[in-house]
Symmetry: C2
Subunit: 426 residues, 2 copies
Amino acid sequence: MTVDNHKMWNELDMDVEMHDLLCEALPVAFGDVYLSQENRPEGMDFFNMVVADIHGIRPAELIKHQEAGGKVVGTFCIHVPDEIAVAGGAISTGLCSGSQFWVPGGEKYVPTATCPLIKASLGARFDRTCPFFRIADLFIGETTCDGKKKAWEILAEDAPMHIMDLPQMKREKDLLHWRDEILGYKDKIEELTGNQVTEESLHDAIVLINNKRRALQRLNAFRKEEKLPISGKDVLLVQQIAFYDDPARFAQMTNALSDELEQRVKDGVSVFPEGTKRILLSGTPLSIPNWKVHHIVETSGAAVVGEEMCTGSRYYEGLVDEEPTDMEGMINALNERYMDIHCACFTPNTERIDDIIRLAKEWNVDGVIDVNLKFCGIYDIEGYTVERALQEAGIPVLGIETDYTDEDAEQLRTRIGAFIEMIGEK
Amino acid sequence: MTVDNHKMWNELDMDVEMHDLLCEALPVAFGDVYLSQENRPEGMDFFNMVVADIHGIRPAELIKHQEAGGKVVGTFCIHVPDEIAVAGGAISTGLCSGSQFWVPGGEKYVPTATCPLIKASLGARFDRTCPFFRIADLFIGETTCDGKKKAWEILAEDAPMHIMDLPQMKREKDLLHWRDEILGYKDKIEELTGNQVTEESLHDAIVLINNKRRALQRLNAFRKEEKLPISGKDVLLVQQIAFYDDPARFAQMTNALSDELEQRVKDGVSVFPEGTKRILLSGTPLSIPNWKVHHIVETSGAAVVGEEMCTGSRYYEGLVDEEPTDMEGMINALNERYMDIHCACFTPNTERIDDIIRLAKEWNVDGVIDVNLKFCGIYDIEGYTVERALQEAGIPVLGIETDYTDEDAEQLRTRIGAFIEMIGEK
């Protein structure tokens, strides 16, 4: 929290006084959850620094980009293709909010019975307590769920928004519908930036974002090791920062971390004691700084080895085909990749069940915790099918519902602890 | 509850013992809410009879239709065009459930934080306690909201389903999308019934269903009278039965009721004392036997003169253009009419605000109660905009949230009573 940051936040017309409360709380939470870990990889230093000054360093870079005539777009969903914005010379940044700090502000506009991610995102904008929500020149909403679809109408009264209409099924005509929405996004970006999305710039962007995914894939592969060289918490943090950081630098720093982990594997170094149980999380996204479930799991005798989540495998699995270099081919490749995300907003969505079982097997997990953010209806209802399928596959599963408060932490600790103990008794 | 009904219910493989509990409770509720009213129109006798034997008379007719080789389809949403089913020789019946009786059965399959309409509908099917859910040869689901979209996946494990994908916006391409879904529904009906939907049968069906709407429009026009010749409760009952009864008979009986009301208007007969406050309800549907809010309003010194609801103006306003007689023209006319429903599932949905203000003025109301079924996210979030718009228009508004239980009845009575008193103080 430097003087420079305060100057920047004031210039962004932020509620600096209120924001200072967040700035005071975050380092404490980060210290408790992260810095208390032992034997962390040195490669995490970069990510520690990013989170320590998350409302300083990156916002300053975005503003510098704007001062040079560039544009910044903010997104809330991994269905929105970053490649389009990047190809138009814009910077695309994630906006999903993961702190209870912003929730009460959102509850002034949407019902309490709305998922905390949506409430926090609205609160962050309306309360003027997040620089990213002040900086973005354009906000990209989508119709992924009832809550977002309707909340964007309210957000649009305060922020410039472009809505992408995600289809609800995946028939041929639905795929064409999304292709059309991607083209509409391209038009919007060109209008915003004044730049053309060219075949060259789009191909470069596809490679750039693929490289980010490749770096995350490489990092996640280490979680298959019997001796885990990195905690689940640390990988979660890297994945959360992936939504905010410069994609090229992010891939570079994540690969540097992986180089270190490679050496750790050779040396047989693990951050967990032998026999630590292995947990896959499935469900709704965990936006920064939502570390609650990981922290509970990893201080209850288990390790999180994967996240079947938007802040996990749904984000980094699946590359865009780099073969096509003509505009039509690249748009089709983008469409194919982005429509292959197995979000609960689609009906049917049986591929997600297959994903969870596949990840559970490949990462050799002892159990799955299906995590639902309170009032996320689509994942909550799909949880019925997910849990049944896992039981049928003989994979222990625990369904939990949580939000951004700490009120349920002790109850979760009890339930998760009992689950971890239970799966130890195979 | 005759011996014949029990025979029929057994043949439908219903849980007759459990269903008997409903049969015992319903007449008591109906007596308390309806038969306690004074000076009801004689034309309500027909509707009293229908509801008194709602699981007997009409189910027997549907079975008779099936025995003669006909098919029955069940629907959950007023976006599904009955005209298509009727033109294919099928009977289309509503399936939305309005009783708490079915809710616990549904909660075995979907989360508690799901709207009672969806939970009750699933419970009615899985518990085998509603003949309509046993009789239907095909269930038509739609993607109107997250809850329904995902609940249909679970219902489809037990019931034959066809899903219509309602677009989430109303741009030209979205209208074409729904047109395509209507054509898909036509194919499905033809496949189910073995009949062709011909230009003649479709035009007949359009006129038939329009006549039902005209009858409801005529009935609702009486609620504009200063001296109200019929209670809001009674009109609600008629509107609820509209979803179940034979359309031609329904129109005939509703028009007969209107003939009587016409005479009442001439004679200056009112069922309310002079100075009774006039209330418009807006919001989520009130499926039979959900009479709670009407009953509270009308025993608290006010009359309900309109429902901006799926079980109200959204159902009966807007006729299908009867001009076209060729297939393409009629499909377009259907599409135009059905895409002109102002459901909160669309974004944006500002036309609904215009509707509410228009209805409030035309029906000369003293206030609007915006009713939300618990956990209906789309109407809940839209309530923010609705209430603000009404306040700006100088129309008193009260937002309430309720479900199918009676637990909140006293609290609602207090709040609604205070609201009615307040709007009297203009």
